[in-house]
Amino acid sequence: MTSTRNLQWKTYALLAPIVFFAATGNVLLGKGMKQVGDVPELSPAAFGTLFLSAFGSGWIWLGIGSLLLFLVMFMVVLSWADYSFVMPVSAASYALVPLMSRWLLDERVSATRWAGVSLICLGVALVTRTPASGGERS
């Protein structure tokens, strides 16, 4: 049996890289897809071409690698922690993404978006005041 405190510590140790790799992965995908270009129409053929050219982009592969690392750590943490705990806490990555897209992709981030990001952070702070694992009860 792992003590509650140790469990909480283990959970945070994994959640930090989870947040980082989720945010990095999404920013890299965004960068890659912007280089690939817009989808002109909503047809299967257009999507096929889009995905083929997407897999030729180095940024896309870096993004996928980053998201794979995220997935493995996500699986490990879910082997003991509640999904309803991990899910909102990993939302901290949503606060990182506007920062990264502002600085790395030069996108403009409006005041409303920044307010939304603050609310998300506040929500995450509330969730982390609950124990990481209550266990499935079904």
Binding site: Y83, Y94, S101, R113, E136
Partner: protein
């Protein structure tokens, strides 16, 4: 219209996939040792759980919808908007996984969702 469709499929794919993966991992039980060997063993066991593959399939649907969406919309709009999946995820955790959500946790998830709506409005 294409944005709404892709967003819906990205959101439902992501939260459905994560719920399935979560269910699969709970069947495996807590990982205690973090050596490369026990980690590989753990991942190997995960590959034999049906719910894991259901989750991966749903995550793939969500992922490709997201990829398409990112080709025409701003990252700082798309990523927060897909956080709609926090609402569907919380409901799934409560009613599909049977997790007990305390009022504090519901409040936190509600704040996260409110933040998402704000971000998507702009």
């Amino acid at each position: 219209m294409r944005t709404a469709l892709c967003l819906a499929s990205a959101v439902l794919g992501a939260s459905g996939g994560e719920l399935s993966v979560s269910h699969a991992m709970k069947q495996l039980g807590e990982l205690h040792h973090f050596s490369p060997r026990s980690l590989i063993n753990f991942l190997g066991r995960a590959l034999r759980v049906k719910w894991f593959w259901a989750g991966i399939a749903l995550l793939a649907v969500g992922f490709f919808s997201l990829l398409a969406l990112l080709s025409w919309a701003d990252v700082s709009f798309v990523i927060p908007a897909t956080a709609m999946s926090y609402v569907t995820g919380a409901l799934g955790a409560r009613f599909l996984l049977g997790e007990r959500l305390t009022p504090l946790r519901w409040a936190g998830i509600a704040l996260v969702s409110a933040g998402v709506v704000l971000v998507s409005l702009s």
